[in-house]
């Protein structure tokens, strides 16, 4: 067993995930290096790290995706490892390969594993070979339209056309009728070409009303793999996850253990090392199929941490140091129930338009069973360039009902002023009968959109009380500014005054 302790980690990311990684590093006594773009000088990850270096302009293509600059910063700062977080370069095989070439430990799988699982078609093939069930569909890239039409007629509509190099819903088309085949193929191909520079497609049988269920796995470099059970991620809006929970309210222990075994088989087939996620879709009859593997940490990893009791970032680092997994499958148990709500800076009344801006006030929830992974602070201006996720609220309860009760309480306590957020929308999800009963699939938000997006019912009494408080605030503000006036009647030398103004307008 070859072990090489990591002493300093460059975190090639920003936002909540950068802080989250740095917290585990700090607990392990590992130094952290932050990198930041011009738009992020005041960001929390810069303030939380031990060291911080500018790596370029605001657009991520010129900073957080700038491989050369990140590698150079890691080397000049003396970091011995790089944690990519999620998004940005986390699933970029070229980046992982560069790290290896430069003698930097990439905290994640090998470039070969990333490549194999990154390409949907090669991943499908690998899974079929490993005996993992996949959705019926093509096993080769489809570039010929006639062929594609023939294939779709064979397996029958509905089908999903997807970009082979794809992700994030781009280059995807659902075909419900045979008459739509040709136009959908053309649209998907053109989108795929634009988004990924590759117009290869593949075709899958469409699973109607599916559940999205994923399994967390951990593999060390000695061939040991465990799964840390499932996450139910079916509350989605436009293929974006909104609420996740574990355990899944629908699967049985028997199905869980079968899915877990497949997840482990999938990771082994990919010759995997580190933390990864096997995504499945599941139909109404609880048939499940491999969908894809995410070769990185997921946004929703904290619910697994809470229910299984494992710090996934620490395990990632220990695996990257060359350690064996400290537990076997039998050591891992699910205990209680965890839910995560993603809080986005979005205007829910205006088609979820992103709402960057300055945080004027923030009150975060506390108490038993509450975890809040955020990165914004009072006075911080959220830049326009990056993701609109500002915080993740994770709660735990002994039972699913207890977790929902606690989430409602935590969302009530949570107040962010200055930007519009999805907090009220999430509260309504918690109140929706389908969610309460655990009877929902990926159509949940669409199905319940009327009540989820209904206008708020204002309590007239509350409105009057709010007016009274505003009255008092207005009066007290006037008084304060008068006091300040009275207090600052000192006379200062003019030139000195001018100097000061210059200085303070810059800081």
């Amino acid at each position: 067993m070859e072990q090489k302790p990591i002493k300093k980690v460059l975190v090639a990311n920003r936002g909540e995930i950068a802080i989250r990684i740095m917290r585990s590093c700090r607990e392990m006594g590992i130094e952290t290096v932050a990198v930041f773009s011009d738009a992020d000088r005041t960001a929390m990850h810069v303030r939380y790290s031990n060291e911080a270096y500018n790596i370029g302009a605001a657009p991520s293509s010129e900073s957080y995706l700038n491989i050369d600059k990140i590698i150079a910063t890691a080397k000049s700062s003396g970091a011995d490892a790089i944690h990519p977080g999620y998004g940005f370069l986390s699933e970029n095989a070229a980046f992982a390969r560069r790290c290896r070439e430069e003698g930097l430990q990439f905290i994640g799988p090998s470039p070969e594993s990333i490549e194999m699982m990154g390409d949907k078609i090669s991943a499908r093939k690998k899974m079929i070979a490993a005996g993992v069930p996949v959705v019926p569909g093509t096993t080769e890239k489809v570039t010929n339209e006639a062929e594609a039409i023939k294939y779709i007629k064979e397996i029958g509509v509905p089908v999903m056309i997807k970009a082979s190099a794809g992700g994030g819903g781009k280059g995807m088309r659902l075909v419900k009728k045979e008459s739509q085949i040709a136009s959908s193929l053309r649209a998907a191909r053109s989108e795929a070409k634009t988004a990924f520079g590759d117009d290869a497609l593949y075709i899958e049988k469409y699973v109607d009303s599916p559940h999205h269920i994923e399994f967390q796995i951990l593999s060390d470099r000695y061939g040991n793999t465990v799964h840390l059970f499932e996450r139910e991620c079916s509350v989605q809006r436009r293929h974006q996850k909104v609420v996740e929970e574990t355990p899944s309210p629908i699967i049985t222990p028997e199905i869980r253990s079968r899915m877990g075994a497949y997840a482990v088989a999938a990771a082994n087939a990919a010759n995997y090392e580190g933390a990864g996620t096997i995504e499945f879709i599941m139909d109404e009859q609880l048939n499940f199929y491999f969908l894809e593997m995410n070769t990185r940490l997921q946004v929703e990893h904290p619910i697994t941490e809470r229910v299984v009791g494992v710090d996934l970032v620490k395990e990632q680092i220990r695996i990257a140091e060359g350690n064996k997994l400290p537990f076997t499958q039998d050591d891992l148990k699910q205990s209680g129930h965890a839910i995560e709500c993603r809080i986005y800076a979005e205007d829910t009344d205006n088609n979820f338009m992103p709402n960057p801006g300055t945080i004027t006030h923030i009150t975060e929830p506390y108490g038993f069973g509450i975890r809040c992974d955020g990165y914004v602070y009072e006075g911080y201006t959220i830049p326009i360039y990056y993701d609109s996720l500002i915080s993740k609220l994770i709660v735990w309860g002994r039972t699913r009902d207890a977790a929902i009760e606690r989430m409602r309480r935590a969302l009530y306590e949570y107040k962010i002023t200055g930007v519009k957020t999805t907090i009220r929308f999430l509260e309504r999800i918690m109140d929706t009968p389908d969610f309460r009963k655990g009877e929902y699939n990926t159509h949940f938000i669409e199905k319940n959109s009327a009540s989820l997006l209904a206008e708020g019912i204002y309590d007239k009494k509350n409105e009057d009380i709010a007016l009274i408080a505003t009255y008092a605030q207005y009066m007290s503000r006037i008084e304060e500014s008068k006091k300040t006036n009275a207090a600052t009647t000192e006379k200062k030398e003019t030139n000195w005054k001018r100097q000061l103004r210059k200085f303070t307008s810059r800081i």
């Binding site: 800076a345 205007d347 205006n350 338009m353 992103p354 709402n355 960057p356 801006g357 300055t358 004027t360 006030h361 009150t363 326009i384 360039y385 990056y386 993701d387 609109s388 009530y412 107040k415 002023t417 200055g418 009220r424 708020g456 204002y458 309590d459 509350n462 409105e463 009057d464 009380i465 709010a466 007016l467 009274i468 408080a469 505003t470 009255y471 008092a472 605030q473 207005y474 009066m475 007290s476 503000r477």
Partner: protein, 174 residues
């Protein structure tokens, strides 16, 4: 003291009647309230009204004389109406009539693409400009048939909330 406040399309008059220590008696429109009110820090108040406890954040908004007010269950956007804001309001209303002819950015963002140039004739529904914020692109379309009168931004510009993007002159008006 009397103050006019605007909330949820309602203009309310808050009028102070009496004050003794923290106990404040006032009328909100015609309803009288006797409350125990204390300011607990710069932006938070505690109000007890008939025993009920209200913890309220009153935070100055970026817009002048606007407050974001949070109670436990509700959020309010409250505006202080004085002579200055009455004037502004009337000005805004007259502007509002022109709204169909102008496109303003509903959020801070970046101009990714402009499809038209000054002098172009555009049809209602025709895409004019694409804005990007937080990895999401939004397309803005013409609300009516007209001539592009003004495009005070260019591709690559960073824009503020409510910034003017495109002005269209109505052809029917001519």
């Amino acid at each position: 003291m009397e103050l006019e406040l605007r909330v949820n399309n309602r203009n309310a008059i808050v009028k102070e009647i009496k004050r003794e220590g923290n106990i404040l008696t006032l009328a909100v429109d015609e309803v009288e309230y006797k409350v125990d009110i204390v300011k607990v820090n710069k932006e938070e108040f505690s109000i007890l009204y008939k025993g009920k406890s209200f913890s309220i954040e009153v935070i100055e908004s970026k817009e002048p004389k606007h407050y974001n007010v949070n109670t436990l269950y509700n959020r309010f956007d409250i505006e202080v109406i004085d002579n200055e804001s009455r004037y502004r309001q009337s000005r805004m209303q007259s502007k509002h009539i022109l709204n169909d002819n102008t496109i303003r950015s509903p959020m801070p963002g970046k101009v990714v693409k402009i499809f038209v140039k000054q002098g172009d004739i555009v049809e209602a529904g025709q895409p004019l400009i694409v804005l990007s914020a937080m990895k999401m692109e939004s397309e803005f379309k013409a609300g009516l048939r007209g001539i592009v009168k003004e495009i005070p931004v260019k591709e690559g510009d960073t824009v503020e909330n409510n910034q003017l993007l495109v002005v269209i002159e109505d052809l029917k008006e001519k």
